[in-house]
Amino acid sequence: MNQLLWLIPGAPILSALIIVLLGGFLRYRHIAVLASCAAAAAFLTVLLAWLNGAANAQPLQQTVYTWVAVGDWRPTVGLMLDRISLVMVSVVSGVGLLIHLYSIAFMAKDNDYRRYYFFLNLFLGGMLLLVLADNLLLLYLGWELVGLCSFALIGFWYRDPVRASAGRKAFITTRIGDLSLALGIFLLFSQFNTLSLPVLFDAISEQWQPNSQLAAITAFMIFAGAVGKSAQIPLQVWLPDAMAGPSPVSALIHAATMVTAGVYLIARMHPLFELTPLVQWTVAAIGAVTILYGASSALAQNDLKRVLAYSTISQIGYMFLALGCGAYAFALFHLVTHAFFKSLLFLTAGAIIQANNHEHDIHRLGSHGGHSLLMHGCFLVGAASLAGIPVITAGFYSKEAILTTVWPASTGQLLWVIAALGTLVTSIYIFRTYFLLFQNSQKAVSISPVNRMMVWPLFILALLSITAGFVEFPAGWPGPQLWSTWLENEFGTATHPPLATVYVLQLIASLLPLLGAGIAFLLVRREKTGYRLPLSDFLRDGWKFDATYKIVLVGGYFRLAHFFKLIESLLIDAMLHKMTRGYKVFATYCRTGFEYGVLNRGLNGLLSGLRFGHAQLSTAQNGLLNRYALMICAGAVFLLGYWLW
């Protein structure tokens, strides 16, 4: 089995290569089948790994290739399949396979299918590489690969400038996080001279004291990387726009897999995070704020896919909350169930949108593509699972587990309240969407029926959205708790409050979704009569994050340059000339050369300082090649000097 490990990321990557190199000779059907077969091969290999006892034995390991051997540093393409990655690999390849199958019918009418399948397969390979990597270098490679594919797939219909710019936005925003992750990796490498994960963990627990500053900085860097990829505040702005891509892409990349890479990363690096309670608390706090942010923004959206996008942001907030409270197993648990119900929602939404001739507004979506009942059922299952309707849905079990473990953490009561509020709002927005979509489904005729091929993945996902939760019953319930016991070796057990408290909390948390559904029903009724939520513009624009960034970050730089220039000209023209002249007159009048020299020179110094600032800022982009070379050289000199010193 060790020798087959490469097949998991290898099959999709190979198929992507075939598609991009030989795709010109193939027809649509062949390419689609080839891509799906590659995904199936990866999934089957994962199944084989399960059957061969990957779930309970030592981690499987395979070193595929050694990049270069310099002294004792040998970066490898090494794969490692332990329980954490097994969870991820199963979800990614399984959901990936379903979405490939779904895409066959979905993309049938698009001319750029070759590019689509190339990037979809490449994405799958990159994601699998990311989760299987046994060293941070390879992990980073996968990380960038999925970022690239995400960029290409968001801007898939790049002829529309809005969509193309959405792709760029996603790429640039996540790049900020990526940079931070890279810095974190550099830091780790500079400290321990290795990037291999098992070695790194031993070294971390041996050499770094809890609460040490270096550990905190490193953990924070890595956390910032995760924030970028997982669309948490403050780097969440790209995800809503990422809905410009095709719906299966949204389902696969922006709901089920890539955005959870950050969760995986933190879970993977948990020995590091456990050293620094402060960063851990930050993770939880960011998660909690994001829950509220995403849920409240979703409440005011009219675009079906944007509702789901904000919902994704908020759900990943739950995962971060769990990670921050040390409940890594439950974060992964929620990741799994979320992958199922969110891709179910997205795929259903995609089918409905396609059936309505690419109409996105939930007020106007009426046709359900000839499978009205099925669409209805699938969406209801997904919505219920997302809201966490008690007992019968998978979402309930995972969310309940998280909520219970949040309580005993530091400032846990506050976090719990926020999360519970998030649950309520989640239920409201998703049922609002549901009621708006399906209450009057007869209002439009079906334009194009939904293909039968697209129905099967929906069906499977709906089944999983219901049943996946039964592996882990909440604390204190008379059901099995397979999940947390299975991941015990990796993470240790999470603590939960005394049982009496638990039952009260659970009761409240399970009543909230039902309450939310009720509120949604009333809300929709009132909305039909023209009622609008308070603050709805603010919420619809995602708390005005985009506008703020534009003003603060983009404008700031220009503002600063302007400021220097303005002050300079102001001082020269209005004041300084007069002042200097005045002083000059005064000086000559008093015949005191001393003052003349001091004042004039001092003011001139100030002036030239300002002028220098303006010149430096404005010539940072002066287009002169030599100047750029000079700057690079100066940077090299400085860095090398710093390092040597």
């Binding site: 090299a636 000199v637 090398l640 000097g641």
Partner: protein, 164 residues
């Protein structure tokens, strides 16, 4: 004898490279570069890398620099009217920076390396290099081939009269 040749060649290399800094005529600069490259090839040979010495002459001097000269001739560039660096005002800062960089590099090198115990030059045969190239580095060779192909296509595309 051996040392004399080595240091002479090294001096030629550095002087020729330095001349590029101060000549006006692009053809002369290119020729100085060719001289530097040839001297460098000799250095490679003296250091015990005969294959690389030959490749340096064949590829760098024989192909790349000919292309360079070819381009200069086609453009028919005449001696530039630009002010020579040492006459223009802004040469001090870059020169200072470069000097510092060099010193830093030296510190870096001397800090990293212990002096070797035996200092005999071992010649690494072309065969060994070839086996290394097509053994552990086979994948990189393929990648290099793809890179060259990509460059070729890019150049063909760029040099078309009517671009898309």
């Amino acid at each position: 004898m051996y040392e004399i040749i080595f240091y002479l060649t090294a001096a030629v290399t550095v002087l020729a490279a330095g001349s590029i800094l101060i000549v006006r005529n692009p053809i002369h600069a290119a020729l100085y570069l060719v001289i530097a490259l040839l001297a460098l090839a000799l250095l490679f040979f003296l250091l015990g890398a005969p294959l690389l010495a030959a490749l340096q002459v064949m590829i760098y001097a024989g192909a790349i620099m000919v292309l360079f000269l070819f381009l200069i001739m086609v453009m028919n560039l005449r001696p530039t009217q630009e002010q020579l660096p040492f006459l223009s005002a802004g040469w001090k800062v870059p020169a200072f920076l470069a000097l510092i960089l060099w010193l830093e590099l030296l510190v870096l090198f001397f800090g990293l390396l212990p002096e070797p115990a035996d200092e005999t030059i071992t010649v690494i045969e072309p065969k060994v290099v070839g086996e290394s190239l097509f053994g552990p580095y086979l994948l990189v060779v393929e990648a290099a081939a793809i890179l060259l192909l990509a460059a070729l296509i890019a150049v063909l595309y760029l040099s078309r009269k009517k671009r898309l």
